[in-house]
């Protein structure tokens, strides 16, 4: 257990009250002492994101987690707005924009369709890895290490046990996380 790491989990969901998977995932990690859990819709229901505060949060984190369901091959809209208003020139990129360099980035997402649909013969045609290229490249562009994403496919046909097992796995990952850039 490494309690010296700092993890920030950014989360968004349009209907968390009716969610099973994401609620389980939230509950699994929210109480970890090293985790700063930030529900974007709760913090910024008006989309008026406090750029400075979030930049400080990001600066202090070793691991940045984006946790959300996949809507239309991407994160809920507020995540895009978060990127647009917080990862500014001079902070995340551009001259002097080195704040995120060397940090780890983890995508913790869930999809409705089973993994088989993410191939040329499936309804989503592309592999999941291809579909999440934009966020992967965003992380890389800012000098972050893009960790292998934690994906729970086929949410529509999962049993409670399977969900619980996945949540436990998620918790363990964060508990056991050690900053990769510490020499």
């Amino acid at each position: 257990m490494n309690n010296n790491s700092n993890i920030v989990v950014y989360f968004a969901h349009l209907d968390i009250e009716r969610s099973l998977i994401n609620r389980a995932l939230c509950d699994a990690v929210r109480d970890l002492p090293q985790v700063n859990f930030r529900d974007l819709h709760e913090l910024y229901p008006d989309f008026f994101i406090d750029t400075e505060a979030e930049q400080t949060v990001l600066r202090n984190a070793d691991l940045i987690v984006f946790q959300h369901p996949i809507y239309w091959y991407a994160a809920p809209a507020i995540f895009k707005h978060f990127l647009d208003t917080v990862l500014m020139n001079g902070f995340a990129y551009g001259p002097g924009g080195t704040a995120l360099q060397g940090k780890d980035f983890l995508l913790a997402v869930s999809t409705g369709a089973p993994v088989e649909e993410y191939q040329p013969s499936g309804i989503h045609h592309y592999s999941f890895e291809e579909l999440i290229r934009p966020i992967e490249q965003t992380a890389r562009f800012c000098g972050m290490q893009f960790l292998p994403p934690l994906v729970l496919h086929g949410g529509s046909c999962l049993s409670q046990n399977e969900i619980d097992a996945h949540a436990a796995h998620y918790r363990r990952m964060l508990e056991e996380y050690k900053p990769s850039n510490i020499s």
Binding site: S19, L20, P45, C157
Partner: protein, 619 residues
């Protein structure tokens, strides 16, 4: 009986003014000539409807006093100090040179030295009432000519004081009495009174005005405004200073106070009427008996006076470096004899400097010379002006420069938020507020706040409604807001209105008056509060916000729908309102049902929380 004749006289004056002034204006001669001619017509030599022209002249001179007070209000001490050069240089040169030359001409005509000197002093002064009225009427006060003209007039107002002091001395020397020498105590008294006005005006007047404003009774404020002017005038008059000068001083001292606009608009109608009366009285006092007895002499004197003064003014202005194209106007507007001549000549006759015959001739001459000025202005506009360089006159110094884009009417709890938001974003607004307590506080924090009832047209005009782009109606008075909106729509149609509305009924009344941008004063606050309540009941911030958004959207739809039926009869309005209440319940219910049904369906079909996660249509 007495009462009756007073009312009758008032009736005659008003009737004459109402008939003559519009005609004169229509013919392009301006209001002043209209008043003068009206005076001639109703005076002892016209229809003879009014007999006591001199009393009226004396009484209406108070219009000049009010005029000077109003002008003082527009000049703060700093600006007055900036004008010291033109006042002393230009004004001093004009008075001294004109008086000497006129006195020289007088002696050539065989007048004795002292008579010539007193006559010349009186004639060297121009008519403040006439010149300022004409300049204001033509909106020329801020041009170089207007500015210089004003400086000269101001010097003349000051110059009257020593002139009045000197005349009795000349008188005694003629009658052979022992010259009593100059009375130094008079001078000390004068200085004392001026100090009293300056100190009192600076430190005492504002708190008193605040107290009076706090009563909220407009007529008391008006009464105090008049009391202030009359009181100051009487005070300075007691020590032998010009009443107009005293009023001017009081005005200057109040120029920086927040009550400036309110005072201005309260004095305005009195000033206008009394000035009109003054011109009527001048018209009435033209003694046609003397004129007819020796028409060539009188007309010759009047024209000679005007031509000489014009020539000298032109010369002095030229030496002083006024722009060439402003010179004719400057010379012309000050070319007449003025009301101070009446006063000086009166004193001169009383102290025996003048024989009555000369006094009569000179008074007719002065009155006649005043009639020439409006005509000369017309000639100037028609003949001289078109030949001058067409380049637009650049205002030397705007007398009024509150050119803000936004006017906020009402700066209480509501308007303050608007004003502060604008202020924080670098947009300064002119603020009208009727609560004196707010004004003090806000001034302390550097806001530009003016005292007054915003629904008053004159105050709006003074605050620059003609140039502003937006009016924020934030006043704390439902009916007042409607009155204000109505008056603004009528008088300043270019001004866009953003109004604070009370409730739905008020919204409709505002819509009726053509206001389409409004905000219900309690709606957003209440909605926020509902949202907070939902949050504290366990709703996520997001869901509470969405619920509030939905509520607002529905509510606004309802308003639109209701307004479409607003013109139908009352019963229909009531029915719609009840329907709306039901439909709101239904609609909120249906929102809720819709939301849960949809989610449940999706959830059942995908057996997952992440109902939205698959963009797959389910029929």
């Amino acid at each position: 009986m007495d009462n009756h004749s007073l009312l009758f006289n008032a009736f005659i004056y008003l009737l004459a003014a109402v008939i003559a002034v519009p005609i004169s204006k229509r013919l392009g001669f301006g209001a002043v000539l209209g008043y003068l001619l009206a005076g001639v017509v109703i005076g002892p030599w016209g229809l003879g409807l009014i007999k006591n022209a001199q009393d009226i002249l004396h009484f209406s001179e108070f219009g000049v006093v009010l005029l000077l007070f109003a002008i003082g209000l527009e000049l703060n001490p700093a600006r007055l100090w900036e004008m010291r050069k033109p006042i002393l240089g230009l004004g001093g040169a004009q008075v001294v040179i004109t008086a000497l030359i006129l006195a020289g001409i007088g002696t050539l005509f065989g007048l004795t030295g002292s008579v010539a000197l007193v006559a010349a002093m009186g004639l060297s002064l121009s008519s403040t009432a006439m010149a300022l009225q004409l300049l204001t009427e033509k909106n020329l006060l801020s041009t170089p000519a207007g500015h210089s003209g004003f400086s000269v007039l101001l010097f003349q107002d000051i110059a009257v004081i020593p002139m009045l002091a000197v005349i009795p001395l000349l008188g005694t020397s003629i009658t052979g009495d022992a010259a009593s020498g100059f009375d130094w105590t008079v001078l000390l008294q004068a200085i004392g009174v001026i100090l009293l006005i300056v100190v009192g005006g600076r430190f005492l007047l504002r708190p008193v005005l605040r107290m009076i404003a706090a009563t909220g009774l407009r007529e008391v404020f008006t009464a105090f405004s008049l009391l202030l002017v009359i009181g100051t005038s009487l005070l300075v008059n007691m020590v032998g200073l010009s009443m107009a000068l005293g009023a001017f001083l009081a005005g200057v001292l109040l120029a920086e106070s927040e009550y400036r606009h309110a005072l201005e608009s309260d004095i305005e109608p009195f000033k206008g009427l009394l000035l009109g009366l003054f011109f009527i009285a001048v018209g009435m006092s033209i003694d046609f008996g003397i004129l007819l007895r020796d028409p060539l002499l009188i007309v010759g004197l009047a024209l000679g006076l005007v031509v000489t003064k014009m020539f000298l003014l032109y010369l002095v202005g030229r030496i002083y470096g006024l722009p060439a194209r402003q010179l004719p106007l400057f010379a012309l507007v000050l070319s007449q004899g003025g009301e101070f001549a009446f006063v000086l000549f009166g004193v001169a006759q009383a102290t025996g400097v003048f024989p009555a015959a000369i006094n009569d001739i000179l008074i007719v001459t002065v009155a006649l010379s005043m009639m020439t000025t409006p005509l000369l202005i017309v000639l100037h506009d028609k003949l001289i002006e078109p030949r001058l360089d067409r380049a637009p006159a650049t205002p030397m110094d705007e007398m009024e420069d509150e050119g803000h884009k936004v006017i906020i009417a009402g700066f209480g709890r509501f308007g303050q938020i608007v004003g502060r938001l604008l202020h924080a974003n670098g947009i300064d607004a002119t603020v009208l507020e009727h609560d004196p307590n707010h004004i003090e506080t806000l001034r302390r924090f550097g806001f530009k706040v003016f005292y007054g009832d915003a629904s008053r047209l004159d105050l709006l005009r003074a605050a620059g409604a003609e140039r502003a782009r937006l009016l924020v109606v934030a006043i704390d008075d439902r009916e007042g807001a409607l009155r204000l909106v109505e008056s603004v729509r009528e008088n300043f149609p270019h001004l866009q209105i953003i109004a604070r509305a009370w409730d739905l009924g008020h919204v409709f009344e505002l819509l009726e008056k053509g206001v389409h941008v409004y905000e219900r004063e309690t709606f957003e606050g209440a909605l926020r509060m509902g949202e907070q309540t939902l949050k504290h009941l366990g709703f996520t911030a997001w869901r509470a916000k969405q619920a509030a958004h939905r509520f607002r959207a529905h509510n606004e739809d309802t308003i639109d729908e209701l307004y479409q039926h607003y013109h139908e009869d009352f019963a229909v309005r009531v029915r719609i309102s009840t329907d709306a209440r039901d439909s709101l319940r239904e609609s909120m219910q249906s929102d809720e049902d819709h939301l849960s049904t949809q989610t449940d369906q999706d959830w059942r079909q995908t057996s997952s929380d992440d109902s939205n996660s698959i963009p797959v249509k389910t029929d």
